[in-house]
């Protein structure tokens, strides 16, 4: 990597890099690329549709309910990037990519030339089919020239209906929470549940409407979802399941504009409220790539090096990217597996990896970017081609939910022991712990001992440990209950153990055990001072003198110490 401050050295013509999208993943890419920009090896132009500098979208719900201030959303130093020479155009959209001319067209009509193009256009919230709410087939539309209507393309949502994705949406929600309004959340995915729990904590009346049986049904199994639903109810959220929303009822505001009044479900239920938050999943913004003739699936298709399947000069990272191995030449066009996770962790990894590759190429450092080869295989999280394994964690203080991988299997599905150790086709094994009364539920799914999926509700430490084990692709202890005990009172090894057992250490400074002290007492040392002289116990920090006194009371001289 070039030395900071080594700019203006005459060198090759700098490569022109254009980045479309200045969300958190785009911002990460910018940060990582600053050294080569500083060194004059590349110029970087960023075009972002939002008027704000990149911020932490992950915390948008906290901001929306008033738990976090605006400054808590800052994740990057845009001013520093500008000072380094990065050109950052906010409030500007890219409306077209020309691959033949190697340019992008901006909403302003201007064109920018690139040698390398990086798409970090992210994802938008899905708007479900609801009578009364207009929908556009946005994945086929031309991006509008007005950056502010990137996702609505004139078909703006009615008043009182919002899909929480950006700062403007958050401000709308903030207003409703402040006003103490009643909030209806449509959809019980992780984002819907987070918002509902946070808003309830913020004092709002909240109702979650969803069509499945349990919340977070993409991530949780029935047990986990049921425990979560109970926890949500306990936190004051009304959970309405098995309900398919069909249409929206409006009332008229004072200025005669329609405003959300109630959600109407297929079974005729009416759920009234002041704000309807649509939380029905997200979809990658692929239209730019699609119109430029690049292959897209559930995201812009890129290979393990994050290059477009069709054009090695174009890259995609973050929520808009679908990382998958391209089909072998001549092979049929099978639907690529996987897809964007919609999570930030994989996006940031992709940004890091791509920037490292760029840096290595531009500094001709050869291996510079690639992680040093390791004799031990890297864990699962390091594999960009396996993003479907991302861990999903509910962000809600006091409600601990974390899950990953495929957790559909049931404990009784398979015969244990029918496959050899390490066999790749071995069936999965399932261990389960359910304690709904105390809000606890754990399911661990393994194949040949290796964790391939889990659900953990209400057991924070266990969930944290399972996350680490899962991300690394590690083996679970054969005794799975070891993991459950992390959240039990017996996690404190030794506490509650026998304070008077012979091997228990009394004096840490001198490593003196109960046995050594009672032996010394038996030999006639009747006071704490005598014991100290005989064994050095209590002659360090002195903190154990009281304990020695207790021992002397318990094993008075000359009674010999009992055998262990």
């Amino acid at each position: 990597m070039p030395e900071p401050g080594s700019e203006s050295r005459p060198g090759p013509i700098p490569e022109r890099i254009v980045l479309v999208g200045y969300g958190p993943v785009g911002a990460r890419f910018v940060e990582e690329l600053l050294p080569v920009v500083r060194a004059g090896l590349a110029t970087l132009t960023v075009v972002g549709a939002e008027t704000a500098d990149a911020y932490n979208r992950v915390l948008i719900a906290d901001y929306a309910v008033g738990h976090a201030g605006r400054e808590a959303l800052e994740v990057t130093d845009t001013a520093a990037a500008r000072a380094t020479g990065v050109s950052i155009l906010t409030g500007t959209s890219v409306t077209a990519i020309s691959r033949t001319r190697s340019t992008v067209t901006l909403g302003t009509g201007a064109e920018l030339a690139w040698d390398r193009l990086v798409l970090a256009t992210g994802a938008r919230a899905n708007v479900p089919t609801l009578a009364g709410v207009a929908r556009v087939r946005r994945n086929l539309m031309m991006p509008p020239q007005d950056a502010a209507t990137l996702d609505s393309n004139e078909a703006t949502l009615p008043r009182g209906v919002v899909a929480l994705r950006d700062l403007d949406d958050a401000r709308t929600v903030r207003g409703a929470v402040r006003a103490g309004g009643r909030i209806v959340v449509l959809g019980a995915g992780v984002l819907g549940m987070e918002l509902a729990l946070a808003a309830a904590r913020g004092g709002a009346e909240v109702c979650v409407v969803h069509h499945g049986e349990i919340p977070m049904n993409r991530n949780l199994d029935r047990g986990g979802g049921t425990v979560l639903a109970r926890a949500a109810r306990a936190a004051g959220v009304t959970m309405v399941n098995h309900s398919r929303a069909e249409s929206v009822l409006f009332r008229l505001d004072d200025d005669a504009v329609q405003r959300f009044d109630a959600l109407i479900c297929a079974d005729g239920k009416q759920i009234g409220g002041d704000l309807l938050v649509l939380s029905c999943g997200t979809g990658a913004r692929t239209e730019l790539a699609h119109l430029a003739g690049l292959p897209v699936s559930t995201g812009i298709l890129v290979d393990g090096s994050l290059r477009s399947w069709a054009d090695p000069r174009i890259h995609a990272i973050g929520d808009c990217a679908h990382v998958a191995a391209p089909p072998a030449p001549g092979a049929g066009a099978a639907r690529p597996t996987g897809g964007p996770t919609g999570l930030i962790g994989p996006g940031w990894r992709q940004a890091d990896r791509l920037a490292a590759d760029f840096t290595a190429r531009l500094t001709a450092a050869g291996s510079g970017g690639a992680p040093a080869p390791n004799e031990f295989a890297a864990g699962r999280a390091g594999d960009l081609l396996a993003p479907a394994t991302a861990v999903v964690m509910l962000k809600a203080e006091g409600v601990d939910v974390v899950a990953a991988g495929d957790t559909a299997a049931d404990p009784w599905d398979s015969e244990p022991g029918s496959h050899a150790d390490g066999c790749a086709t071995a069936p999965v094994s399932v261990s389960q712990w359910a304690d709904p009364e105390h809000g606890r539920y754990v399911k661990m799914v393994t194949r040949s001992g290796i964790l391939t999926g889990f659900v953990c509700v209400g057991m924070p430490r266990t969930g944290a440990e399972l996350t680490l084990l899962f991300e690394r692709g590690s083996e679970l202890p054969a005794d799975r209950s070891v993991l459950l005990r992390f959240d039990g009172p017996d996690d404190v090894p030794g506490a509650g153990g026998d304070a008077f057992a012979r091997e228990t250490t009394v004096c840490w400074c001198n490593g003196v055990s109960v046995g050594a002290i009672t032996d010394a007492a038996a030999a006639g040392n009747a006071t704490v001072t005598c014991i100290g002289a005989a064994t050095r116990a209590g002659t360090g920090c002195g903190g154990c003198k009281t304990r020695i006194g207790e021992l002397l009371d318990r094993f008075p001289v000359p009674t010999p110490a009992p055998a262990p």
Binding site: N374, F376, A378, G449, A464, L469, R472, A495, C509, R536
Partner: protein
């Protein structure tokens, strides 16, 4: 001498006060016998640990080297007269320099040397040898915390406050340090926090220190190894997000808050949980406790610093302390717990490759001019910056690297990372000289071994973990054939026609050191043996005319504008390998009974008996999986090396982690496995996150011992 001499323990940085009385004088064949007792002092309050209590046994040890030893053509050692040994060394030093240049001669020092020796060693290297290639084992110890302190405060003193200040604290956060075993008398200073329920220990192991948090005394946070930086960034994130910061302090005393805030924006609690294994609620509770404002100290140790991102981790701990407004107040603070006896003083007086006495930068022309003035040489005759320890050792046997090496107070074969490579490097040298009391594993490889005085046989000063300069005093005469390093430097300098003076009188050397340090960050110029012997509690900086500085940073930090710097640091998300079939993360550390490479403590029968060998600690669930029994033999391997030892199955360690003490040599030497990648700022190696494969050994593989 029959009277009692007041001195301090030879081992760790707590420098517990001791009283020594000679019971039997030294003979030519054996060191003196000494009776030893604890002595009242604010740090140890009269107490000593097991190592301290037994320290005097080494003076009289039958293993002591009592004459210079020369390697013979057949590989054995034979005694030689001092004159002959010194002539040979001088000849080889001069010859090596003439043939391969001054930088082909290297010097490796130690954090156990007195200030006087460390100072003289640096001067000897620069002037008598003309080499820039000097560094010391403190690079494996304090370098990350030192670099972080200098960067943030403009000054590095381990504890910028006296140890007793901890007594009144309600909350003490200890990250990666196990003082209950490494410096036990220290834990008395944690009682106040424990009584307030506020001792928080962060360690992947449930160490003796972590257990001090039991029964309501506080809490133990047990992150996966190597995730400390993320943990700290997460705490900073929570403190900022929950508005627990001390805004007035930030505004008036620091620079860089906005950058810091943005840099931690990506570490919200759930993401931190996923990386560290520490639940969000525990993180939140911890952040809130630290901000509760009832006297809060944050202390770091090697556990978080001995990493390739150690400087950044220490920096994050400092940033956390700064946003909470802890540093430089009367009730709170940040500090790092120095390990080696003179780990503090040893890094101030010129045995670091980039430093001159007084903690001056060797690249600073003004510093060079000042020191050259004291040494009465031309500034240009002082070489520039050399190589930090790991690089210095790695250059042995390489072209343009070190060909001749002097080692003082270090046992690199056991204590340096990637030990097998170090051993190969030593073997490739043209000439190796080691000064030691014993045939340490490194001395055993030398061409010449020079026997030197032990702590009770010499005068000097040490600078303890709290930056207090204390006196080491001669209690007994050394055996006749043993010499002080100061004498050795003088003799060699004379034979090498070196410029400047090399006094053998520690008091004189100290006075020179004090003058050389005048005006530097670690200014000792107001100090003298006379003053120290009056019992003055002398905390540096102690410029002439002052009374020293028990508490630093109360009004200003040492940067020109008086403000502390908050450096935003980034965590690299390291992908831990899949932990399958015995692949685990190894951490290394110390035991109560042993000190550093164990060259000394393994020779104390009582300590050796209590801990005769290394044991690999592992969790029962992990042990069961691998078929490892408590006390059974295992081998621990990676591409760098193999360790064979017995297992200790214990609940006190995470299931994904194993622990080895680094005190043992040979096939039990933990550092055969550690990697020699280093921190880009401090040169600290990665000691505490090593991937290994653990395997149970069957009886026949172990051979006769099984």
């Amino acid at each position: 001498m029959t009277e009692t001499t007041a001195t301090h323990c030879p081992y760790c940085a707590l420098q517990c006060a001791m009283a020594l009385t000679q019971t039997e004088a030294a003979t030519p064949g054996r060191g003196a016998r000494v009776a030893l007792a604890g002595r009242a002092f604010p740090t140890n309050r009269g107490g000593l640990c097991k190592k301290g209590w037994t320290a005097a046994e080494l003076i009289n040890s039958p293993d002591r080297i009592l004459e210079p030893m020369l390697r013979q053509p057949d590989g054995s050692f034979a005694p030689a007269a001092w004159d002959m040994a010194l002539n040979l060394i001088a000849e080889r030093l001069a010859g090596g320099r003439a043939e391969h240049g001054a930088d082909s001669v290297g010097v490796f020092g130690g954090g156990g040397l007195t200030n006087e020796k460390a100072y003289q060693l640096g001067k000897f290297a620069r002037l008598a040898l003309g080499t820039s290639r000097i560094d010391y084992n403190g690079r494996f110890c304090m370098s990350s915390a030192a670099a972080a302190g200098n960067r943030a405060f403009g000054l590095d003193r381990g504890l910028p406050f006296p140890v007793e200040d901890l007594d009144a604290a309600a909350t003490i956060l200890i990250l990666g340090s196990n003082p209950a075993q490494t410096m036990p008398p220290f834990i008395g200073h944690l009682d106040g926090a424990r009584a307030a329920g506020g001792l928080i220990v962060v360690d992947p192991r449930r160490t003796a220190t972590a257990r001090l948090t039991e029964n309501g005394a506080g809490s133990h946070v047990q992150p996966t190894p190597g995730s400390d930086l993320v943990l700290l960034l997460g705490l900073i994130n929570i403190v900022i997000a929950e508005k627990l910061v001390d805004q007035d302090y930030i505004d008036s005393r620091t620079i860089g808050f906005d950058e810091l805030r943005r840099s931690v924006g990506q570490w919200w609690p759930e993401r931190v949980q996923a990386q560290t294994g520490v639940p969000t609620q525990q993180l939140r509770d911890l952040a809130r406790r630290l901000a509760s404002g009832r006297g809060t100290y944050i202390l770091t140790g090697r556990g978080v610093e001995q990493h390739a991102d150690g400087t950044d981790t220490a920096t994050a701990a400092i940033n956390l302390s700064l946003i909470l407004g802890l540093v430089g107040t009367d009730h709170s603070g940040y500090g790092t717990l120095t390990g080696q006896g003179n780990g503090q003083g040893g890094r101030e007086h010129g045995q670091k490759c980039d430093q001159l006495p007084g903690y001056r930068k060797i690249t600073d022309p003004a510093a060079r001019a000042h020191v050259a003035g004291v040494w009465e040489v031309h500034p240009d005759s002082i070489p520039g910056a050399g190589l930090p320890a790991v690089e210095l050792l790695a250059s042995m046997g390489e072209s343009g690297g070190i060909r001749t090496l002097l080692v003082h107070g270090a046992n690199v074969v056991v204590s340096a990372p990637n030990a097998d490579r170090v051993r190969a490097g030593l073997a490739a040298l043209d000439f190796l000289v080691v000064c030691d009391f014993f045939f340490s594993e490194t001395a055993a490889l030398a061409d010449v071994v020079l026997p030197v005085t032990q702590w009770a046989e010499e005068d000097g000063t040490m600078t303890s973990l709290e930056g207090r300069v204390i006196r080491r005093r001669t209690a007994v005469a050394a055996p006749a054939g043993v010499r002080s390093e100061l004498w050795i430097f003088q003799e060699l300098a004379r034979r090498l026609d070196a410029p400047s003076r090399y006094s053998t009188d520690p008091a004189e050397v100290f006075d020179e050191l004090a003058r050389a340090s005048a005006g530097g960050p670690a200014d000792y110029s107001g100090l003298s043996y006379g003053l120290l012997d009056e019992g003055q509690a002398a905390y540096w900086p102690y410029p002439a005319g002052s009374t020293g500085t028990p508490r630093l940073f109360r009004d200003r930090f040492q940067h020109a504008d008086g403000r502390a710097r908050m450096f935003p640091v980034r965590a690299r998300v390291a992908d831990a390998p899949a932990q399958q079939r015995g692949i685990l993360t190894l951490i290394t550390g110390r035991l109560l009974e042993h000190y550093q490479s164990g060259a000394q403590t393994r020779r104390v029968p009582e300590l050796a008996l209590a801990r005769p060998e290394a044991r690999l600690q592992l969790h029962p669930a992990t042990a069961a999986q691998l078929g490892v029994a408590d006390g059974g033999w295992v081998d621990v391997t990676n591409s760098r090396g193999v360790v064979r030892c017995r297992a200790e199955v214990t609940l006190s360690i995470r299931h994904d982690t194993v622990f080895l003490p680094f005190h043992f040599p040979g096939e039990q030497s933990a550092n055969r496995l550690t990697d020699d990648v280093t921190d880009p700022v401090s040169g600290m190696p990665e000691f505490k996150r090593t991937t290994v494969r653990v395997r149970a050994l069957a009886g026949e593989e172990r051979g006769a011992d099984a």
